[in-house]
């Protein structure tokens, strides 16, 4: 799943080397935390969070066969 998030985000940003994804898991949920270079923040969030929403939609779809709720925090 981390690899998926990175695959999606990498072509959107100017500083792909600064992408950091961490994972936190407990019984009920998995929480991913994405940080990017400060100049790239707008590129992964977008106007009114449109890009962030699209990223989440794809990530949640990929997580639909896992029985845990998935969250994706950006920054």
């Amino acid at each position: 799943m981390k690899a998926l998030i990175e695959t999606i985000v990498r072509p959107l940003v100017d500083h792909p080397e600064a992408i950091v994804i961490t994972e936190e898991e407990n019984e009920y949920k998995i929480r991913y935390h994405l940080t990017v270079h400060e100049n790239d923040v707008g590129k992964v969030i977008g106007k009114n969070g449109r890009i962030a929403k699209a990223i989440r939609t794809v990530v949640y779809a990929a997580g639909s066969d896992v029985n845990k709720k998935i969250y994706l925090d950006i920054m």
Binding site: A3, T7, L12, R50, A61, A62
Partner: protein, 205 residues
Amino acid sequence: MRQVTATGQTVDEAVQSALVKLDTVIDRVHVDVIDEGKKGIFGVFGSKPAIVKVRVLNDKVKEGEEFLRQVAEQMGITITINTVKKEKEVLYELSGEKIAMLIGKRGQTLNALQYLTHLVVNRNVDGFKTVIIDAEGYRERRNDTLIQLANRLAQKAIQTQKSVSLEPMPSYERKVIHTALQNNNKISTHSDGVEPNRKVVIKPE
């Protein structure tokens, strides 16, 4: 834009070394020969190396295709992509098993992928292209559904003499509704609200 200037004994060698530096293949680059070089006498005296400038062509359409393939692969889905290029539009037709996972409820995953691919394809370029992603004929099926829905709700608006709002839809789905009802003079249609919650309203005349 990625480019390097490379030298070699011959033009071919110079190009090869540039390709290695750029980590790419000959089909994806543009080569400018700056100096063809000279062998010199016995390959020693008066020899001049060949100099070339090699530039990687940005094949954005290919990048979009690659992006889709990788994302699908990470989701555990193997897909085949048929890319149709038009002047201002790129259509990616996806097919494969488990494609339903890529479409999602009412196409929301497909729309998200379409938007992300649109960003990838139109990043750092001048002109921009509309990106459409279709999966197993989903868009056409959806259009039929939307047209039926539009006609049904138009009837309802006429019978009740009240405005009927549809649920929020992306712009091209709203367009399908507007187009389907434009010749119906008993009602008029307009869109209301702010993206991404913009929706079509059918108003009786």
